[in-house]
Amino acid sequence: MNDARPAGDPGLLEVRIERKAYGSALGQHVDVLRDLRFILPRGEVGVLVGPSGCGKTTMLRLIAGSEGGYEGTIVRPAAGKLAMVFQEPRLLPWRTVEENVRLIAPGVDDMTFTMLFDVLELTHHRAHYPGELSLGLARRVALARAFATDPDLLLLDEPFVSLDEALARRLQDELILLVERRAVTTLLVTHDVDEAARLGDRLFLLSPRPAHVVAELPIAMPRRSRSTDDITAIKADVARRIGNNVGSQAR
Protein backbone atom coordinates (compact mmCIF):
# COMPACT_ATOMS: atom_id res chain seq x y z
CA MET A 1 0.00 0.00 0.00
CA ASN A 2 1.30 3.42 -0.91
CA ASP A 3 0.23 6.55 0.81
CA ALA A 4 0.17 9.95 -0.74
CA ARG A 5 3.40 11.64 0.29
CA PRO A 6 4.67 15.19 -0.06
CA ALA A 7 7.70 15.82 -2.29
CA GLY A 8 10.25 18.49 -3.10
CA ASP A 9 8.67 20.68 -5.73
CA PRO A 10 5.91 22.73 -4.15
CA GLY A 11 2.66 22.92 -6.01
CA LEU A 12 3.25 20.01 -8.28
CA LEU A 13 0.97 17.04 -8.32
CA GLU A 14 2.13 13.79 -9.81
CA VAL A 15 -0.19 10.81 -9.96
CA ARG A 16 0.85 7.31 -11.00
CA ILE A 17 -1.74 4.78 -10.02
CA GLU A 18 -1.14 1.27 -11.36
CA ARG A 19 -4.32 -0.18 -10.00
CA LYS A 20 -7.10 0.51 -7.56
CA ALA A 21 -9.73 -2.14 -7.04
CA TYR A 22 -12.77 -2.62 -4.88
CA GLY A 23 -14.08 -5.93 -3.64
CA SER A 24 -17.57 -6.45 -4.97
CA ALA A 25 -20.41 -8.07 -3.05
CA LEU A 26 -19.70 -11.35 -4.86
CA GLY A 27 -16.12 -11.40 -3.61
CA GLN A 28 -14.61 -10.48 -6.95
CA HIS A 29 -12.27 -7.55 -7.41
CA VAL A 30 -13.47 -4.81 -9.67
CA ASP A 31 -10.80 -2.50 -11.06
CA VAL A 32 -11.79 1.13 -10.73
CA LEU A 33 -8.55 2.75 -11.87
CA ARG A 34 -5.81 1.20 -13.99
CA ASP A 35 -2.62 2.84 -15.22
CA LEU A 36 -3.85 6.29 -14.42
CA ARG A 37 -0.97 8.73 -14.81
CA PHE A 38 -0.82 12.47 -15.05
CA ILE A 39 1.24 15.45 -13.88
CA LEU A 40 -0.30 18.74 -12.93
CA PRO A 41 2.17 21.67 -13.04
CA ARG A 42 2.18 24.26 -10.28
CA GLY A 43 -0.45 26.96 -10.40
CA GLU A 44 -2.49 25.32 -13.11
CA VAL A 45 -6.09 24.25 -13.12
CA GLY A 46 -6.24 20.64 -14.24
CA VAL A 47 -9.58 19.16 -15.15
CA LEU A 48 -10.27 15.45 -15.19
CA VAL A 49 -13.13 14.85 -17.57
CA GLY A 50 -14.78 11.48 -17.62
CA PRO A 51 -18.13 9.77 -17.80
CA SER A 52 -20.17 9.44 -14.62
CA GLY A 53 -19.10 6.48 -12.51
CA CYS A 54 -15.67 6.09 -14.10
CA GLY A 55 -13.86 6.40 -10.77
CA LYS A 56 -13.16 10.13 -10.64
CA THR A 57 -14.26 10.55 -7.05
CA THR A 58 -12.21 7.54 -6.01
CA MET A 59 -9.17 9.15 -7.56
CA LEU A 60 -9.72 12.41 -5.71
CA ARG A 61 -10.06 10.50 -2.45
CA LEU A 62 -6.75 8.77 -3.11
CA ILE A 63 -5.07 12.12 -3.77
CA ALA A 64 -6.67 13.60 -0.65
CA GLY A 65 -5.32 10.66 1.33
CA SER A 66 -8.73 9.76 2.73
CA GLU A 67 -8.49 6.37 1.11
CA GLY A 68 -5.56 4.03 0.61
CA GLY A 69 -5.15 0.53 -0.70
CA TYR A 70 -3.89 1.18 -4.20
CA GLU A 71 -0.80 0.26 -6.20
CA GLY A 72 1.27 3.19 -7.37
CA THR A 73 2.47 6.55 -6.08
CA ILE A 74 0.93 9.95 -5.62
CA VAL A 75 3.23 12.90 -5.07
CA ARG A 76 1.56 15.90 -3.50
CA PRO A 77 2.80 19.49 -2.99
CA ALA A 78 5.47 19.76 -0.30
CA ALA A 79 3.88 21.84 2.45
CA GLY A 80 0.73 20.03 1.47
CA LYS A 81 -2.04 22.26 2.71
CA LEU A 82 -5.00 20.60 1.14
CA ALA A 83 -8.50 21.89 0.57
CA MET A 84 -11.40 20.08 -0.99
CA VAL A 85 -14.84 20.92 -2.24
CA PHE A 86 -16.95 17.80 -2.18
CA GLN A 87 -19.88 16.90 -4.38
CA GLU A 88 -22.19 17.70 -1.49
CA PRO A 89 -21.31 20.87 0.45
CA ARG A 90 -20.52 18.91 3.67
CA LEU A 91 -21.00 21.82 6.03
CA LEU A 92 -21.53 21.44 9.76
CA PRO A 93 -25.29 22.01 10.14
CA TRP A 94 -24.93 23.07 13.78
CA ARG A 95 -22.50 25.90 13.06
CA THR A 96 -23.23 29.15 11.27
CA VAL A 97 -21.85 29.92 7.84
CA GLU A 98 -19.11 32.08 9.32
CA GLU A 99 -18.20 29.47 11.96
CA ASN A 100 -18.07 26.79 9.27
CA VAL A 101 -15.42 28.78 7.43
CA ARG A 102 -13.45 29.94 10.47
CA LEU A 103 -13.37 26.53 12.13
CA ILE A 104 -11.65 25.00 9.13
CA ALA A 105 -9.51 28.08 8.42
CA PRO A 106 -8.66 29.56 11.83
CA GLY A 107 -5.81 31.54 10.30
CA VAL A 108 -7.88 33.45 7.75
CA ASP A 109 -7.40 37.21 8.07
CA ASP A 110 -10.34 39.57 7.97
CA MET A 111 -9.41 41.02 4.61
CA THR A 112 -9.39 37.65 2.87
CA PHE A 113 -12.54 36.65 4.70
CA THR A 114 -14.39 39.76 3.60
CA MET A 115 -13.13 39.41 0.04
CA LEU A 116 -14.26 35.77 -0.16
CA PHE A 117 -17.71 36.51 1.21
CA ASP A 118 -17.95 39.46 -1.14
CA VAL A 119 -17.03 37.53 -4.27
CA LEU A 120 -19.25 34.60 -3.34
CA GLU A 121 -22.13 36.88 -2.28
CA LEU A 122 -22.34 35.38 1.18
CA THR A 123 -22.06 38.57 3.22
CA HIS A 124 -25.73 38.53 4.22
CA HIS A 125 -25.64 34.88 5.19
CA ARG A 126 -22.79 34.96 7.71
CA ALA A 127 -25.04 34.23 10.67
CA HIS A 128 -27.28 31.70 8.93
CA TYR A 129 -27.18 27.99 9.57
CA PRO A 130 -26.55 25.70 6.56
CA GLY A 131 -30.06 24.26 6.87
CA GLU A 132 -31.41 27.67 5.93
CA LEU A 133 -29.42 27.91 2.70
CA SER A 134 -30.24 26.86 -0.85
CA LEU A 135 -27.94 24.33 -2.51
CA GLY A 136 -26.28 27.09 -4.53
CA LEU A 137 -25.49 29.08 -1.40
CA ALA A 138 -24.27 26.02 0.48
CA ARG A 139 -21.94 25.27 -2.43
CA ARG A 140 -20.62 28.82 -2.18
CA VAL A 141 -19.91 28.33 1.52
CA ALA A 142 -18.00 25.16 0.68
CA LEU A 143 -15.96 27.16 -1.85
CA ALA A 144 -15.34 29.95 0.68
CA ARG A 145 -14.21 27.41 3.25
CA ALA A 146 -11.77 25.80 0.82
CA PHE A 147 -10.25 29.12 -0.33
CA ALA A 148 -10.07 30.50 3.21
CA THR A 149 -7.51 27.84 4.12
CA ASP A 150 -5.20 29.28 1.44
CA PRO A 151 -4.45 25.80 0.09
CA ASP A 152 -1.41 24.56 -1.83
CA LEU A 153 -3.64 22.12 -3.62
CA LEU A 154 -7.34 22.51 -4.19
CA LEU A 155 -9.45 19.50 -5.11
CA LEU A 156 -12.93 20.02 -6.52
CA ASP A 157 -15.30 17.10 -6.96
CA GLU A 158 -18.08 18.10 -9.37
CA PRO A 159 -18.69 21.21 -7.29
CA PHE A 160 -21.47 22.59 -9.49
CA VAL A 161 -23.44 19.44 -10.19
CA SER A 162 -27.26 19.68 -9.89
CA LEU A 163 -27.37 23.46 -10.07
CA ASP A 164 -29.27 25.09 -12.91
CA GLU A 165 -27.12 26.22 -15.79
CA ALA A 166 -27.21 29.96 -15.12
CA LEU A 167 -26.27 29.49 -11.48
CA ALA A 168 -23.54 26.99 -12.33
CA ARG A 169 -22.15 29.52 -14.81
CA ARG A 170 -22.05 32.24 -12.15
CA LEU A 171 -20.32 29.99 -9.66
CA GLN A 172 -17.81 29.00 -12.32
CA ASP A 173 -17.02 32.69 -12.89
CA GLU A 174 -16.56 33.22 -9.17
CA LEU A 175 -14.29 30.20 -9.01
CA ILE A 176 -12.18 31.58 -11.87
CA LEU A 177 -11.84 34.88 -10.03
CA LEU A 178 -10.62 33.16 -6.88
CA VAL A 179 -8.30 30.69 -8.56
CA GLU A 180 -6.57 33.41 -10.58
CA ARG A 181 -6.14 35.68 -7.61
CA ARG A 182 -3.36 33.52 -6.24
CA ALA A 183 -2.67 30.83 -8.85
CA VAL A 184 -3.78 27.90 -6.69
CA THR A 185 -2.90 24.51 -8.10
CA THR A 186 -6.33 23.09 -8.66
CA LEU A 187 -7.65 19.74 -9.73
CA LEU A 188 -11.26 19.71 -10.82
CA VAL A 189 -13.20 16.60 -11.60
CA THR A 190 -16.28 16.79 -13.79
CA HIS A 191 -18.35 14.92 -16.34
CA ASP A 192 -19.32 18.24 -17.94
CA VAL A 193 -17.15 19.06 -20.95
CA ASP A 194 -18.48 22.60 -21.10
CA GLU A 195 -17.34 23.23 -17.55
CA ALA A 196 -13.94 21.72 -18.33
CA ALA A 197 -13.53 23.91 -21.40
CA ARG A 198 -14.34 27.04 -19.42
CA LEU A 199 -12.20 26.39 -16.36
CA GLY A 200 -9.23 24.25 -17.31
CA ASP A 201 -5.63 25.08 -18.17
CA ARG A 202 -5.11 21.43 -18.93
CA LEU A 203 -7.69 18.75 -19.55
CA PHE A 204 -7.14 15.08 -18.82
CA LEU A 205 -9.67 12.94 -20.64
CA LEU A 206 -10.58 9.74 -18.85
CA SER A 207 -11.82 6.46 -20.24
CA PRO A 208 -14.78 4.60 -18.75
CA ARG A 209 -14.02 2.16 -15.94
CA PRO A 210 -11.30 1.13 -15.22
CA ALA A 211 -10.29 4.73 -15.72
CA HIS A 212 -7.04 5.85 -17.31
CA VAL A 213 -6.04 9.05 -19.08
CA VAL A 214 -6.71 8.67 -22.81
CA ALA A 215 -5.56 12.15 -23.80
CA GLU A 216 -4.03 15.26 -22.29
CA LEU A 217 -5.14 18.57 -23.71
CA PRO A 218 -3.35 21.75 -22.63
CA ILE A 219 -5.26 24.93 -23.38
CA ALA A 220 -2.92 27.86 -23.92
CA MET A 221 -5.58 30.52 -24.18
CA PRO A 222 -6.26 32.29 -20.86
CA ARG A 223 -9.64 31.51 -19.33
CA ARG A 224 -10.82 35.11 -19.32
CA SER A 225 -10.40 35.60 -23.04
CA ARG A 226 -12.16 32.41 -24.15
CA SER A 227 -15.16 33.29 -26.27
CA THR A 228 -18.18 31.07 -26.83
CA ASP A 229 -16.64 30.02 -30.14
CA ASP A 230 -13.34 29.09 -28.48
CA ILE A 231 -15.19 26.99 -25.96
CA THR A 232 -17.18 25.27 -28.70
CA ALA A 233 -13.90 24.56 -30.47
CA ILE A 234 -12.34 23.08 -27.33
CA LYS A 235 -15.41 20.93 -26.81
CA ALA A 236 -15.24 19.69 -30.37
CA ASP A 237 -11.58 18.86 -29.87
CA VAL A 238 -12.40 16.89 -26.74
CA ALA A 239 -15.21 15.05 -28.49
CA ARG A 240 -12.94 14.15 -31.39
CA ARG A 241 -10.25 12.79 -29.12
CA ILE A 242 -12.42 10.44 -27.21
CA GLY A 243 -14.96 9.68 -29.91
CA ASN A 244 -18.34 11.03 -28.85
CA ASN A 245 -18.12 8.95 -25.71
CA VAL A 246 -17.83 11.83 -23.29
CA GLY A 247 -18.96 14.68 -25.51
CA SER A 248 -22.51 13.39 -25.67
CA GLN A 249 -22.85 13.87 -21.93
CA ALA A 250 -22.20 17.58 -22.01
CA ARG A 251 -24.98 19.83 -20.84
Binding site: A64, G65, L82, M84, W94, L103, E132
Partner: protein, 245 residues
Amino acid sequence: MLRLASLALFFIAWFAGSLVAGEQMLPGPDTVLATILTEARSGDLFLHLGATLARVLVAFTLAMTLGAAIGLAMGRSPVIDRLGDPWLIVLLNLPALVIIVLAYIWGGLTETAAVLAVAINKLPTAVVTVREGARALDPALDEMARVFAMPRWKALRHVVLPQLAPYLAAAARSGLSLVWKIVLIVELLGRPNGVGFEIGVAFQLFDVTRILAYALAFVAVIMAIEMALVQPIERRASRWRPRTA
Protein backbone atom coordinates in the same frame (compact mmCIF):
# COMPACT_ATOMS: atom_id res chain seq x y z
CA MET B 1 -51.91 24.25 30.68
CA LEU B 2 -52.61 20.64 29.78
CA ARG B 3 -49.72 19.60 31.99
CA LEU B 4 -51.15 21.49 34.96
CA ALA B 5 -54.55 19.90 34.44
CA SER B 6 -52.94 16.48 34.30
CA LEU B 7 -51.00 17.19 37.48
CA ALA B 8 -54.20 18.37 39.21
CA LEU B 9 -55.88 15.13 38.21
CA PHE B 10 -53.03 13.23 39.84
CA PHE B 11 -53.55 15.03 43.14
CA ILE B 12 -57.33 14.50 43.01
CA ALA B 13 -56.84 10.79 42.44
CA TRP B 14 -54.36 10.67 45.29
CA PHE B 15 -56.80 12.46 47.60
CA ALA B 16 -59.64 10.12 46.65
CA GLY B 17 -57.35 7.12 47.14
CA SER B 18 -56.43 8.23 50.62
CA LEU B 19 -60.13 8.60 51.54
CA VAL B 20 -60.79 5.03 50.41
CA ALA B 21 -57.65 3.39 51.83
CA GLY B 22 -57.46 5.40 55.02
CA GLU B 23 -54.78 7.76 56.31
CA GLN B 24 -52.71 4.85 57.67
CA MET B 25 -52.09 3.20 54.29
CA LEU B 26 -52.16 6.27 52.04
CA PRO B 27 -52.02 9.66 53.70
CA GLY B 28 -53.49 12.52 51.66
CA PRO B 29 -51.44 15.21 49.91
CA ASP B 30 -52.13 17.70 52.71
CA THR B 31 -50.67 15.40 55.40
CA VAL B 32 -47.60 14.67 53.29
CA LEU B 33 -47.06 18.37 52.57
CA ALA B 34 -47.31 19.14 56.29
CA THR B 35 -44.61 16.53 57.01
CA ILE B 36 -42.38 17.95 54.28
CA LEU B 37 -42.72 21.40 55.90
CA THR B 38 -41.92 20.11 59.41
CA GLU B 39 -38.88 18.25 58.13
CA ALA B 40 -37.78 21.33 56.22
CA ARG B 41 -38.13 23.51 59.29
CA SER B 42 -36.00 21.17 61.40
CA GLY B 43 -33.35 21.15 58.65
CA ASP B 44 -33.34 17.36 58.36
CA LEU B 45 -34.94 17.46 54.93
CA PHE B 46 -32.16 19.57 53.43
CA LEU B 47 -29.44 17.51 55.07
CA HIS B 48 -30.76 14.29 53.56
CA LEU B 49 -31.73 15.78 50.21
CA GLY B 50 -28.29 17.39 49.98
CA ALA B 51 -26.47 14.14 50.76
CA THR B 52 -28.49 12.23 48.16
CA LEU B 53 -28.15 14.97 45.55
CA ALA B 54 -24.38 15.09 45.99
CA ARG B 55 -24.13 11.32 45.46
CA VAL B 56 -26.41 11.51 42.44
CA LEU B 57 -24.35 14.24 40.83
CA VAL B 58 -20.96 12.59 41.41
CA ALA B 59 -22.13 9.15 40.26
CA PHE B 60 -23.98 10.62 37.29
CA THR B 61 -21.02 12.69 36.11
CA LEU B 62 -18.67 9.76 36.48
CA ALA B 63 -20.94 7.34 34.62
CA MET B 64 -21.75 9.78 31.82
CA THR B 65 -18.15 10.87 31.17
CA LEU B 66 -16.80 7.35 31.20
CA GLY B 67 -19.81 5.96 29.37
CA ALA B 68 -19.59 8.56 26.60
CA ALA B 69 -15.87 7.94 26.10
CA ILE B 70 -16.25 4.14 26.01
CA GLY B 71 -19.39 4.32 23.86
CA LEU B 72 -17.67 6.59 21.35
CA ALA B 73 -14.64 4.30 21.16
CA MET B 74 -16.81 1.21 20.72
CA GLY B 75 -19.01 2.85 18.11
CA ARG B 76 -16.06 3.97 16.03
CA SER B 77 -13.78 0.94 16.23
CA PRO B 78 -15.09 -2.54 15.44
CA VAL B 79 -12.13 -4.10 17.29
CA ILE B 80 -12.86 -2.23 20.52
CA ASP B 81 -16.52 -3.01 20.05
CA ARG B 82 -15.85 -6.74 19.82
CA LEU B 83 -13.49 -6.61 22.81
CA GLY B 84 -15.85 -4.59 24.96
CA ASP B 85 -19.14 -6.21 24.05
CA PRO B 86 -18.98 -9.24 26.39
CA TRP B 87 -18.06 -6.98 29.32
CA LEU B 88 -20.94 -4.76 28.44
CA ILE B 89 -23.42 -7.63 28.39
CA VAL B 90 -22.16 -8.88 31.76
CA LEU B 91 -22.49 -5.39 33.28
CA LEU B 92 -25.92 -4.82 31.74
CA ASN B 93 -27.26 -8.02 33.24
CA LEU B 94 -25.59 -7.82 36.64
CA PRO B 95 -28.37 -6.89 39.10
CA ALA B 96 -27.91 -3.52 40.76
CA LEU B 97 -28.16 -5.17 44.16
CA VAL B 98 -25.26 -7.52 43.43
CA ILE B 99 -23.01 -4.66 42.37
CA ILE B 100 -23.91 -2.65 45.48
CA VAL B 101 -23.41 -5.53 47.91
CA LEU B 102 -20.09 -6.49 46.34
CA ALA B 103 -18.91 -2.86 46.35
CA TYR B 104 -19.68 -2.60 50.07
CA ILE B 105 -17.97 -5.92 50.83
CA TRP B 106 -14.86 -5.09 48.85
CA GLY B 107 -14.70 -1.37 49.54
CA GLY B 108 -16.19 -1.20 53.02
CA LEU B 109 -19.24 0.89 53.93
CA THR B 110 -17.62 4.00 52.48
CA GLU B 111 -18.75 6.93 50.39
CA THR B 112 -16.42 5.89 47.55
CA ALA B 113 -17.83 2.38 47.41
CA ALA B 114 -21.39 3.77 47.40
CA VAL B 115 -20.81 6.25 44.58
CA LEU B 116 -18.79 3.79 42.50
CA ALA B 117 -21.51 1.15 42.84
CA VAL B 118 -24.06 3.60 41.47
CA ALA B 119 -21.79 4.74 38.64
CA ILE B 120 -21.09 1.14 37.58
CA ASN B 121 -24.81 0.48 37.46
CA LYS B 122 -25.43 3.41 35.14
CA LEU B 123 -22.29 2.97 33.02
CA PRO B 124 -23.42 0.19 30.63
CA THR B 125 -26.66 1.88 29.58
CA ALA B 126 -24.78 5.11 28.87
CA VAL B 127 -22.26 3.15 26.80
CA VAL B 128 -24.99 1.43 24.80
CA THR B 129 -26.82 4.67 23.99
CA VAL B 130 -23.70 6.62 23.00
CA ARG B 131 -22.43 3.67 20.97
CA GLU B 132 -25.58 3.80 18.86
CA GLY B 133 -24.89 7.48 18.29
CA ALA B 134 -21.27 6.86 17.37
CA ARG B 135 -22.32 4.25 14.83
CA ALA B 136 -24.62 6.77 13.20
CA LEU B 137 -21.89 9.42 12.78
CA ASP B 138 -21.76 10.86 9.28
CA PRO B 139 -18.66 9.52 7.49
CA ALA B 140 -18.86 12.39 4.97
CA LEU B 141 -18.26 14.98 7.70
CA ASP B 142 -15.50 12.80 9.12
CA GLU B 143 -13.75 12.75 5.77
CA MET B 144 -14.16 16.49 5.48
CA ALA B 145 -12.50 17.04 8.87
CA ARG B 146 -9.67 14.70 7.94
CA VAL B 147 -9.00 16.19 4.51
CA PHE B 148 -8.82 19.69 6.00
CA ALA B 149 -6.51 18.31 8.74
CA MET B 150 -8.76 19.50 11.56
CA PRO B 151 -7.07 18.93 14.94
CA ARG B 152 -8.54 15.99 16.88
CA TRP B 153 -10.01 17.94 19.78
CA LYS B 154 -11.52 20.50 17.49
CA ALA B 155 -13.09 17.79 15.36
CA LEU B 156 -14.42 16.09 18.49
CA ARG B 157 -15.99 19.28 19.72
CA HIS B 158 -17.40 20.67 16.50
CA VAL B 159 -17.97 17.63 14.31
CA VAL B 160 -18.54 14.62 16.56
CA LEU B 161 -20.18 15.91 19.75
CA PRO B 162 -22.97 17.86 18.02
CA GLN B 163 -23.92 14.65 16.22
CA LEU B 164 -23.93 12.76 19.52
CA ALA B 165 -25.95 15.44 21.31
CA PRO B 166 -29.37 13.73 20.99
CA TYR B 167 -27.90 10.45 22.22
CA LEU B 168 -26.11 12.14 25.11
CA ALA B 169 -29.35 13.88 26.04
CA ALA B 170 -31.24 10.58 25.97
CA ALA B 171 -28.57 8.94 28.12
CA ALA B 172 -28.63 11.87 30.54
CA ARG B 173 -32.42 11.85 30.83
CA SER B 174 -32.75 8.16 31.59
CA GLY B 175 -29.50 8.31 33.56
CA LEU B 176 -30.63 10.93 36.02
CA SER B 177 -33.73 8.98 37.04
CA LEU B 178 -31.93 5.63 37.12
CA VAL B 179 -29.05 6.99 39.18
CA TRP B 180 -31.21 8.52 41.86
CA LYS B 181 -33.22 5.35 42.28
CA ILE B 182 -30.06 3.32 42.74
CA VAL B 183 -28.57 5.91 45.10
CA LEU B 184 -31.56 5.32 47.36
CA ILE B 185 -30.83 1.60 47.56
CA VAL B 186 -27.18 2.28 48.26
CA GLU B 187 -28.17 4.62 51.07
CA LEU B 188 -30.67 2.16 52.47
CA LEU B 189 -28.03 -0.56 52.63
CA GLY B 190 -25.03 1.26 53.95
CA ARG B 191 -25.12 5.00 54.49
CA PRO B 192 -25.98 6.96 57.64
CA ASN B 193 -27.81 9.75 55.80
CA GLY B 194 -29.66 10.60 52.59
CA VAL B 195 -33.21 10.06 51.38
CA GLY B 196 -32.70 6.30 51.13
CA PHE B 197 -31.57 6.11 54.76
CA GLU B 198 -34.60 8.11 55.90
CA ILE B 199 -36.96 5.90 53.94
CA GLY B 200 -35.31 2.86 55.52
CA VAL B 201 -36.03 4.25 58.97
CA ALA B 202 -39.60 5.15 57.99
CA PHE B 203 -40.10 1.63 56.63
CA GLN B 204 -39.21 0.12 60.01
CA LEU B 205 -41.80 2.37 61.64
CA PHE B 206 -44.35 1.81 58.86
CA ASP B 207 -44.49 5.59 58.48
CA VAL B 208 -45.98 5.97 54.99
CA THR B 209 -46.30 9.75 55.34
CA ARG B 210 -42.58 10.11 55.88
CA ILE B 211 -41.76 7.78 52.98
CA LEU B 212 -43.91 9.83 50.62
CA ALA B 213 -42.65 13.13 51.98
CA TYR B 214 -39.00 12.31 51.27
CA ALA B 215 -39.67 10.63 47.94
CA LEU B 216 -41.78 13.50 46.60
CA ALA B 217 -39.38 16.14 47.85
CA PHE B 218 -36.60 14.51 45.90
CA VAL B 219 -38.74 14.03 42.80
CA ALA B 220 -39.34 17.79 42.94
CA VAL B 221 -35.58 18.39 43.07
CA ILE B 222 -34.97 16.16 40.02
CA MET B 223 -37.79 17.88 38.14
CA ALA B 224 -36.23 21.24 38.91
CA ILE B 225 -32.87 20.04 37.58
CA GLU B 226 -34.53 18.71 34.45
CA MET B 227 -36.34 21.98 33.78
CA ALA B 228 -33.59 24.37 34.82
CA LEU B 229 -30.63 22.53 33.35
CA VAL B 230 -31.34 19.64 30.98
CA GLN B 231 -34.04 21.29 28.88
CA PRO B 232 -32.23 24.62 28.31
CA ILE B 233 -29.07 22.74 27.32
CA GLU B 234 -31.07 20.65 24.86
CA ARG B 235 -32.70 23.75 23.38
CA ARG B 236 -29.31 25.40 22.98
CA ALA B 237 -27.83 22.31 21.36
CA SER B 238 -30.63 22.13 18.79
CA ARG B 239 -30.96 25.84 17.98
CA TRP B 240 -29.49 25.23 14.51
CA ARG B 241 -32.37 22.98 13.48
CA PRO B 242 -34.79 24.75 11.18
CA ARG B 243 -37.87 25.48 13.27
CA THR B 244 -41.06 23.92 12.04
CA ALA B 245 -43.73 26.56 11.63
